[in-house]
């Protein structure tokens, strides 16, 4: 479909519609002056203003003017095309025109919201309207193409969000690939002891879901694996997944632990990741008893065989099923999916970044995640809260907002710390009978049953001191302080600086974006917010979509979130993916490239550059030709063509030059 052959809709009759957007635009732009200006531009036959162009009556104005034959091209000066381009294209089509005989001038985000001076704002709005009018006179009718959607879904990340999304989709009959970089699924939730505010056991509610994932016929679970390449587009993604060698044949291993007991290391010497370093594991290990899949893994960094090649490999001998395989290599799986859900979770803030709290210096200063393991019955101490010297603490201080609400580290509130601090206060108090002090800036407990839980803690005689902690150290001034950790803080409720001696300190560390969030963002072609969280398409109305169609978000990778919110979001992401797949097709923008054969010299520069292999070469005519079904409209070939033979629908050189002329001639 070459536009040069398409109909041109006759002599241009341009309708310009300037939106007030309530006072969003009208408060900063003299709308009437813009309309007056537009009415005098060449080819403009209608210039109108309206309070809300996006409303039904607003859209009807456009449609009616087309039906009445007053207008055959439309310019709407309003908000960002991201917001309402689709709306006004539809309105143009509703009047009987071609949807692409339309151009938008963004006088809200680009003008009224960012300009103080009303005169200057009006000037800029006029320039942008002039540009749109110039451009739209060259628009040609175009048609969207329909492409079928692949029905399978990829989910990246096997924490509670990824698990819930996978089960939801799989139960609806979709085939799901669940990719997790660790040797087991479960994520952070598997490490927690209890969940707030109901105090159900985290493992008890999580592990059945983990087993369901493993057993589900519609789920392909790839743990210890990472996505290495993504290409294609909505409905038709091609993905490569790197399966790291775990040196255990997954199909043969039954998780009997014989290999682990057979390891040459009689004593476990390696820091156990699952217990955040509070216990040790062997180089061959199963992360925890409910790990899914329940399959051992060998860590080549610490395994003697990998380091010296001289181990007698007693683990392999111990395995009756011959599942240990030191020669396993990395494997690349290639899959095709229609939708992708990212559920890559968060990273715990490293408390050592705030040296004044003494983490890493004083052994009895713990991070909250460490305490989760300490209070857990399956944890390194069997659920006993003990100090480094083995004694029970008599006083414990919990410091909130470590790495949150802090201009020096993270400005945002991590949302979950107040509640998990309350939970830990309850558990520590219950296990040790210690005096527990919470040092908080504000208590933030907005959730179902959360405030009630806070009330319960107040009644349990847990202390709450309002004020940010200045420092934790062992500088004893009075005899009572000797041998204690001193928490110094300003108690803002009584207006005094206080020194509270305690035996143990818990740092309620905040949540941060994963260290590799930027790489992941690039791979899936989505955006990150300033803090590194994956950016949703719209904070209110498209909270699990991204700016890349077909890629959805679930859980804390989008921002700090507790379990209920992560699960809710995972369900939403699964529903969005289902809606996309069940529709069966996607419509593609007709912004494809095409060759003007008379100018093509056959140099073939474009062919090598095309990332989608959409350009072929006709040996007979010695010209390049674009396959419109494969072209994604990236524009690379158009920019590279030395003779400007390649053009792109919706972005022809002529259209762009006329747009520039429109701006410049006004100025």
């Amino acid at each position: 479909m070459s536009p040069s052959n398409g109909q041109t809709n006759g002599t241009p009759k341009v309708g310009v519609y300037v939106c007030h957007c309530g006072i969003n635009i009208a408060g900063k732009v003299h709308v009437d002056a813009v309309v007056e200006f537009a009415s005098k531009l060449p080819y403009v036959t209608v210039a109108k203003e309206y309070k809300f162009m996006c409303s039904d009556p607003g859209q009807d104005i456009i449609a009616q003017d087309i039906r009445d034959g007053k207008v055959n091209r439309v310019v709407v000066a309003s908000c960002s095309p991201l917001m309402h381009e689709a709306t006004f294209r539809k309105a143009t089509a509703a009047g009987g025109g071609n949807a692409f005989m339309f151009q938008m001038a963004n006088i809200r985000e680009h003008v009224s919201w960012v300009t103080h001076d009303k005169g200057l704002a009006t000037d800029k709005a006029k320039a942008l309207v002039a540009a749109a009018v110039e451009r739209v006179t060259l628009h040609k009718p175009l048609e969207k193409t329909k492409v079928p959607v692949h029905a399978d879904v990829l989910i990246v990340g096997g924490g509670i969000a990824g698990i819930h999304a996978a089960l939801t989709l799989a139960d609806s009959g979709k085939k799901v690939y669940l990719v997790e970089k660790e040797p087991t699924i479960g994520g952070h939730m598997a490490q927690f002891d209890k969940t707030f505010p109901t105090l159900d056991c985290s493992a008890c509610i999580l592990t059945p879901k983990m087993s369901s994932v493993r057993a589900h016929p519609n789920i392909t679970l790839w743990t210890y694996s990472e996505v290495s390449e993504v290409s294609g587009f909505v409905g038709n993604f091609k993905v490569k997944v790197k399966r790291k060698p775990r040196y255990i044949i997954e199909d043969l291993c039954v998780g009997c632990y014989e290999c682990i007991e057979g390891c040459i290391y009689k004593e476990a010497k390696v820091k156990d990741e699952f217990n955040v370093g509070l216990s040790k594991r062997r180089p061959i290990y199963i992360p925890f008893p409910q790990a899914t899949p329940l399959v051992a893994v060998i860590d080549p960094e610490t395994c003697i065989e990998f380091r010296t090649h001289r181990c007698k490999k007693s683990c392999a001998t111990a395995c009756e099923r011959n599942a240990v395989d030191f020669n396993q290599t990395e494997e690349i799986k290639e899959i095709e999916v229609g939708a992708i859900i990212l559920a890559t979770g968060f990273k715990v803030f490293d408390a050592a970044r705030i040296p004044r709290y003494g983490y890493g210096k004083y052994p009895d200063v713990y991070s909250a995640l460490e305490i989760e393991r300490l209070v857990n019955a399956a944890g390194p101490t069997g659920g006993e809260v003990k100090m480094a010297n083995g004694e029970k603490p008599k006083a414990v201080g919990i410091i909130h907002c470590v790495g949150s609400r802090d201009a020096k580290t993270n400005k945002y509130c991590s949302r979950v710390c107040c509640m998990y601090s309350l939970k830990l206060a309850h558990l520590i108090h219950e296990r040790t009978d210690a005096e527990v002090y919470n040092f908080y800036i504000d208590m933030r407990t907005p959730g179902k049953g959360y405030e009630e839980f806070y009330d319960r803690l107040l009644e349990e005689n847990v202390h709450f001191i309002r004020g940010r902690v200045a420092e934790v150290n062992d500088w004893a001034i009075t005899p009572e302080e000797k041998g204690k950790l001193i928490i110094r803080c300003e108690d803002t409720l009584i207006g005094m600086v206080r020194r509270i001696p305690v035996d143990m300190v818990v740092l309620s560390t905040g949540l941060e974006a994963q260290a590799d969030a930027d790489d992941v963002r690039r791979m899936f072609n989505i955006s990150c917010s300033h803090e590194g969280w994956f950016l949703e398409r719209h904070p209110k109305l498209a909270p699990v979509s991204t700016f890349t169609d077909g890629v959805f978000l679930a859980g804390a990778c989008q921002g700090p979130k507790d379990i209920p919110d992560s699960v809710a979001q995972a369900g939403a992401a699964a529903a969005e993916a289902m809606a996309l797949i069940d529709k069966g097709f996607v419509e593609l923008e007709p912004n494809t490239a095409y060759v003007q054969e008379e100018f093509c010299s056959g140099c073939r520069t474009c062919i090598a550059l095309c990332p989608y292999s959409a350009i072929g070469y006709n040996e007979e005519s010695k010209k390049a030709s674009v396959n419109g079904a494969l072209c994604k409209g990236c524009g690379t070939c158009v920019a590279a063509c030395p003779s400007a033979a390649l053009q792109q629908n919706l972005f022809t050189d002529e259209q762009i030059f006329r747009e520039i002329k429109g701006v410049v001639s006004y100025v």
């Binding site: 705030i354 420092e471 062992d474 500088w475």
Partner: protein, 302 residues
């Protein structure tokens, strides 16, 4: 690489030993120090509290002179040893950089004196220079008498790393520790190394100021420090000169040498007593380092 040196008023008076020892140590390390000609007051505390703009103008005059003397074609490193000068000049440096309205007024004042400041200047503390510009091996190679067996409490005070310095951590600075470990000393853990020494309050409101110094000295003594190393003339003065007064006031014997970090470094490098201004100490240093080969130095008991 040549450095310009801004002494400020203290290093020419109460802090003479700081200037003497710093010049001696830097010469030993191979960093020539060229004093800024015609320098004036940094604009620190008193000016800053009365009129910020005048304080910035005073600082800026020093900047302009330094750029001129250092050569306009390159960035000039201005070494500022006094903590108050370092803070004042760093603040002015930052404000002139970030606030165009202040900058334009200061530029006007400079122009009236025929001067110009063009942002081509870095404010450096000698600690920063010794840790970051001098190679570890070079420093280690200069040690002729390692400070073996000497327990040092490293004291930074409140101004060097807060809030403008970027060369070290604000809560738990480590520059001095790094230097003294290279020089063979033992570092005591002393979590209050950035707490206030009392500043000018030791003279004006002694019941507040002296107590702050006293708490620092008491804790260093309890933790077994043989001496305290400082990097600020006012801290050194407060911690050293009032020790007899504190002892009687708080009924607890306080007797611990307080040296400039450059004095201590000079001892390890085998520099002489006079070169390092050690004879100026009120609480004498009771430690004789041993030559490199032997096992340790000797503590002289009184």
């Amino acid at each position: 690489m040549a450095y310009l040196y801004y002494p400020g008023c203290s290093l020419k008076s109460t802090g003479r030993a700081y200037e003497e020892s710093m010049r001696a140590v830097f010469a030993k390390v191979g960093i020539p120090l060229e004093e800024l000609e015609d320098w004036n007051c940094c604009g620190a505390t008193s000016y800053m509290s009365v009129s910020e703009l005048k304080a910035f103008a005073l600082s800026a005059r020093n900047f302009a002179l330094a750029e001129k003397q250092g050569g306009r074609d390159k960035t000039t490193d201005l070494i500022v040893p006094c903590a108050a000068c370092y803070l004042g000049l760093s603040k002015a440096h930052k404000y002139l950089d970030e606030f165009p309205d202040i900058r334009s007024k200061v530029d006007e004042a400079l122009a009236a004196a025929g001067l110009k400041y063009s942002n081509n200047l870095k404010i450096r503390h000698p600690l920063d220079v010794l840790v970051n510009d001098v190679k570890k091996d070079r420093l280690a190679g200069l040690v002729t008498q390692p400070l073996k067996g000497l327990k040092v409490a490293c004291y930074y005070g409140c101004q060097i790393v807060r809030p403008y310095a970027e060369f070290d951590d604000q809560d738990s600075p480590q520059s001095m520790e790094k230097i003294f470990r290279i020089l063979g000393a033992e570092i005591i853990d002393w979590p209050i190394k950035t707490r206030c020494c009392g500043g000018s309050l030791s003279g004006t409101v002694p019941e507040v100021g002296l107590r702050l110094s006293y708490l620092l000295l008491l804790e260093a003594t309890r933790r077994g420090a043989d001496c305290i190393a400082t990097a600020c003339p006012l801290c050194q003065f407060n911690l050293e000169c009032y020790q007899p007064k504190m002892s009687s006031l708080y009924n607890e014997k306080i007797d611990i040498p307080v040296l400039y970090f450059t004095q201590l470094a000079g001892i390890a490098m085998g520099l002489g007593e006079k070169e390092l201004g050690l004879q100026r100490l009120f609480v004498p240093m009771r430690y004789t380092p041993a030559p490199a080969a032997s096992s340790g130095g000797q503590h002289v008991t009184k």
